[in-house]
């Protein structure tokens, strides 16, 4: 994924420093790839920035969840935690039994730096690696998502049903809402989950 982003950014005319800086400063997987693809197709800076705002608005929900869960934190650590909140760090932390801020920062900063490192590796390796290999790296993020979901799906039929419903809902909404579909499906799905998933599943500490 980091390599995939680097490939598009370099094609759009980003320098190696700009490619890596964006990963460090923006740190948004899908958002960066969308921004780089838009730059490649010649979109205006305003259009790119507004699209990024919309695509990354979901981090508001994730950041709220993370800050609601962390313990023994302070303002400075919270600001750092907010910046390194992305889909993966948020999902892993939500499923983690330990709520210490240090556990979260450990997970999230590792993911952040590997994302930057991925962009760096991408910048260096793109000329060397065959297309087959760079294409294959596109799957890595999805492999991670699937790997995180499967244990919960295996554990609870209700979670499995919820995942299926949300997936179908998002496939349908994607046709109409574009990049907004993700956040809308996520929220509607969680709303449906309020009714189809037992409270005990969360109170037992499995969630």
């Amino acid at each position: 994924m980091g390599i995939g982003y680097a490939a598009i950014a370099m094609k759009a005319g980003f320098t190696p420093l700009q490619t890596i800086s964006m990963s460090f400063l923006v740190y948004a997987g899908a958002g960066q790839i969308i921004a780089a693809s838009m730059a490649l197709s010649g979109a205006t800076a305003i259009a790119i920035i507004l699209t990024n705002f919309v695509v990354n608005l979901r981090y508001f929900v994730m950041s709220t969840c993370v800050l609601n869960q962390v313990e023994e934190s302070n303002f400075g650590l919270n600001v750092l935690a907010a910046h390194v909140t992305v889909d993966e760090s948020f999902a892993m932390f939500s499923l983690s039994k330990d709520s210490s801020i240090w556990i979260y920062l450990g997970i999230a900063i590792t993911a952040w730096l590997s994302w930057c490192l991925g962009a760096g590796i991408g910048v260096v390796l793109l000329d060397i690696l065959p297309v087959i290999v760079t294409n294959s790296f596109n799957i890595s993020l999805y492999a991670l998502f699937v790997a995180i979901l499967v244990p919960a799906v295996k554990d609870s039929k209700q979670i499995a049903a919820l995942v299926l419903v949300t997936a179908v809902l998002n496939i349908i909404l994607s046709q109409f809402l574009g990049n907004w579909a993700l956040i809308v499906s996520t929220l509607i799905g969680a709303g449906i989950g309020m009714y189809i998933v037992d409270d005990e599943y969360f109170l037992s500490g499995d969630a």
């Binding site: 005319g13 980003f14 320098t15 700009q18 400063l25 923006v26 740190y27 948004a28 960066q32 921004a35 800076a45 790119i48 920035i49 507004l50 990024n52 705002f53 608005l57 508001f60 929900v61 994730m62 950041s63 709220t64 969840c65 800050l67 609601n68 303002f75 919270n78 600001v79 907010a82 910046h83 889909d87 948020f90 999902a91 939500s94 087959i132 290999v133 294409n135 294959s136 799957i139 890595s140 999805y142 492999a143 991670l144 699937v146 790997a147 995180i148 499967v150 919820l162 995942v163 949300t166 997936a167 998002n170 496939i171 993700l182 996520t186 929220l187 799905g189 989950g193 309020m194 969360f202």
Partner: protein, 104 residues
């Protein structure tokens, strides 16, 4: 300031704002148990929505590439293979698939 620098800084600011707002107002938000259940369900629904249908566009020309990858990753996760190994093995399987496609 050149166009790309402007894009990077603009995206950095608009991406940080939604992340920062909860930091500034979290003390004023008191979550009842129902809201907590709702928030706890979000990772599952977010991951489901991230995977479907996005995984089918991993390769813009060949939709089944992403499907193969997802099935391989799910199978490995079912067998309790560690996360890092799942990612690496899935990438390796796709490299293999790409290598044999030209023979069909």
């Amino acid at each position: 300031m050149d166009y790309i620098t402007l894009v990077i800084l603009g995206c950095a600011v608009v991406t940080f704002i939604p992340r920062l707002i909860p930091v500034l107002f979290i003390d004023k938000l008191d979550f009842p148990q129902k809201a907590e259940k709702f928030l706890n369900l979000i990772p599952y629904t977010a991951l489901a929505a991230l995977i479907c249908p996005g995984v089918l566009t991993v390769d813009n020309q060949l939709w089944y590439i992403g499907l193969i990858g997802a099935v391989v990753a799910a199978g490995l996760a079912w067998k309790k293979v560690p996360l890092g190994a799942i990612v690496i093995l899935t990438v390796v399987v796709l490299i293999t698939v790409y290598s044999i496609i030209p023979f069909f």
